[in-house]
Amino acid sequence: MKETIRVFVDDTPVSLFRGMTVKHALMSRDPSLYRAAMNGEILVTDELGHRMGLEGSLLEGARLHTRRAGPVSSD
């Protein structure tokens, strides 16, 4: 098993050590993205549009997308 994987953040490839998570992909792509995600300003989704947590696991080739957090309906 290779010790690095390549994933994509908003279509930009980033290299990560195997076992690293969504937050590491953001740190690697752009630390400001990570800070924005930590502050709840942006959300991260997988390529199918499902939201992922910052500690979510990643596999080779994963494609992440960031989007600005919007209001949610109450209840």
């Binding site: 098993m1 990560l16 590491h24 959300l43 499902h50 949610v72």
Partner: protein, 584 residues
């Protein structure tokens, strides 16, 4: 209710005979026999309870009545509507005599599921779930589970797809016990092993599996002799409403990269896709009808499993922390996953048809229910009480001195600090690395002379960073130091080397001298370096870390500092001139 666990051939049986959550006993590996099933034969088809309750009528009176009406004598010749009713009743007669002709009716079952709780038993704010109201919290989650269970009391399974204990401080400081006690109280049926279940070592894992009143499952983790882990079963069988459900656990293949490697170095981690077919068949041989994979492999791997392994009805997933609002259908399998940190409860209602062994209907929309913890929301009083008790103990633990410092521990971002020296020295000592790097911004508060509490160390090191060991060349180390000098406000704290900067020189040429121990840095030499995962990922633009080789994830940075302070107090770190600036 009967619960059966295991694999008789390869699984070390539980030696204790504990009580199940439903008052039965753990009986060890056996078949999921139907009460009317003969050994070696397939279980009989199920008949719905409503049909059963009417059987005396259909079995005795209806046939007689039906025969009379359907095949009337001459006196009743003109009563066609009555005759039609007779035909219907006669049909019931045939069906009751030959149930296999029409097949059994689908049975409504409910799978409640959570994953990746990571010790979050206290509510928190998450605006992506609710703008104002706190979310998660075990007391609210418990109330939801009980409410959902009441909808289908005889047909519900409660499952966890792993990573339940490590994370939030209230769980971490007690090695997951609060979560485990709550899971026992909530009568979880099974849980799969996640990677973080190994974070505290195998002894702690053993304590958790021993204290659990539900089975831990993993079919693809074995020791070198091919045995399943002590206290861990490959699968468990549950009978609900006469349907035998087989639940098999699988753990991520990347386990060795996702916890401290020495905690799993004696394990063989098999490909779930290679293991599952035989385990599924074994469960079927033991009477399982509904086949559920409880997976801590992540959504992408689960989608691959659904394609590669036929026969799975449901995959209850975790690990990727995916908020999957509605079940995904991949091939014949349904895949569900309930986000992370207990923000959602997964509620999968399905109708299982035993005559076709298929899921006839299932929740199509809104499978995830947000767990809201506002003051007006229902909360389980017993769980709330358990949490309060742990909060009290947690506060006491946090405020208790674990060591002491003879000097103020002061952080610096732009220069060497004694707190930075302490942290990097501990990192190096814990891992045996030659060089340690820590970002100054990762140390958030000072600790003043006197007793040191756990709470102070959590405040000083609030990020859940873990250590990362790697090989770097001297040239890459030099590059890191140049990056450190170029950033200026974020000088790397170091151990194992000394560096002299000249900030009057242009960026990229500011490092004028580096010594590793007592010898000058050699650009071609390879050094074993430890840092934290933030920097290893290239955080703060320290990109040279991303070139590391032989990379190993290690324990929590905060934990090694806590251990050091507890064992080596009183401490008195002083700045040693590791980082100096040449003045013109």
């Amino acid at each position: 209710m009967r619960q059966l666990f295991g694999n008789p051939a390869a699984t070390p049986l539980r030696t204790r005979k504990g009580e199940t959550d439903r008052g039965g006993t753990w009986v060890g590996p056996s078949r999921c026999f139907h009460p009317r099933q003969k050994p070696g034969k397939a279980p009989p088809r199920e008949v719905s309870p409503s049909f059963h309750s009417l059987s005396p009528f259909f079995g005795v009176f209806a046939p007689l009545l039906g025969c009379c009406i359907a095949f009337p004598g001459p006196a009743r010749e003109k009563t066609r509507p009555v005759r039609a009713v007779g035909l219907v009743l006669f049909s019931f007669l045939l069906l009751s005599l030959f149930p296999g002709v029409c097949g059994a009716e689908p049975v409504d079952l409910t799978i409640l599921h959570v994953n990746d709780l990571h010790g979050h038993i206290l509510p928190f704010t998450e605006k992506s779930v609710h703008e104002q109201e706190p979310v998660s919290g075990a007391a609210a989650l418990a109330a939801m589970i009980q409410r959902e269970r009441e909808r289908n009391p005889e047909g519900t399974l409660l499952l966890s797809a792993g990573d339940m204990f490590q994370g939030a401080p209230i769980s971490t400081v007690f090695h997951g016990k609060p979560v485990l006690e709550i899971m026992n109280h909530l009568r979880f049926d099974a849980m799969t092993l996640g990677n973080h279940e190994f974070d505290w070592g195998r002894d702690v894992l053993g304590e958790l599996t021993t204290a659990a009143r539900f089975p831990f499952l993993s079919a693809n983790l074995k020791d070198r002799e091919g045995r399943y882990l002590p206290g861990v079963m490959p699968y468990a069988l549950f009978t609900r409403k006469g349907i035998c459900t087989g639940v098999v656990g699988v753990t991520t293949r990347e386990l060795a990269f996702r916890t401290k490697p020495s905690n799993v170095e004696d394990l063989t981690i098999e490909d779930p896709a290679a293991v599952l077919p035989s385990v599924l068949q074994e469960m079927k041989n033991r009477g399982a009808q509904l086949l559920v994979v409880l997976s801590h492999c992540g959504l992408q791997a689960d989608m691959d499993l659904a394609v590669e392994v036929p026969g799975i009805h449901v995959i209850v997933g975790g690990d990727s922390h995916t908020v999957l609002p509605d079940p995904m259908k991949v091939g014949e399998a349904l895949i569900v996953q309930a986000g992370y940190y207990g923000m959602y409860l997964g509620v999968l209602d399905l109708s299982f048809d035993p005559s076709t062994s298929r899921v006839a209907r299932y929740t199509q929309k809104g499978e995830l229910k947000p767990v809201l913890s506002g003051p007006d929301r229902p909360a389980d009083p017993q769980v709330a009480s358990m949490i309060r008790e742990y909060e009290t103990r947690f506060d006491a633990r946090f405020n208790q001195a674990i060591g002491q410092t003879a000097v103020d521990l002061v952080r610096q971002r732009h220069a060497e600090s004694n707190f930075g020296d302490l942290v990097t020295d501990v990192m190096r000592e814990a891992t045996g690395a030659q060089i340690a790097f820590q970002n100054g911004g990762g140390i958030r508060t000072d600790v003043y002379k006197g007793p040191i509490t756990l709470g102070q160390l959590y405040s000083a090191l609030p990020f859940d960073n873990y250590l990362v060991l790697m090989d770097l060349t001297g040239k890459q180390v030099l590059e890191l130091l140049e990056q450190s000098a170029a950033l200026a406000v974020q000088i790397l704290q170091v151990s194992g080397l000394t560096v002299v900067y000249d900030l009057s020189r242009p960026p990229g040429n500011r490092v004028v001298e580096v010594m590793v121990g007592t010898r000058p840095l050699e650009e071609q030499a390879v050094y074993r370096v430890v840092t934290n995962d933030f920097l290893a990922a290239g955080g703060d633009r320290f990109t040279a870390f991303k070139e590391g080789k032989n990379v190993t994830a290690r324990e929590s940075l905060r934990d090694v500092v806590i251990d050091y302070v507890a064992k080596r107090s009183p401490i008195a770190p002083v700045t040693e001139g590791r980082i100096t600036f040449k003045t013109p």
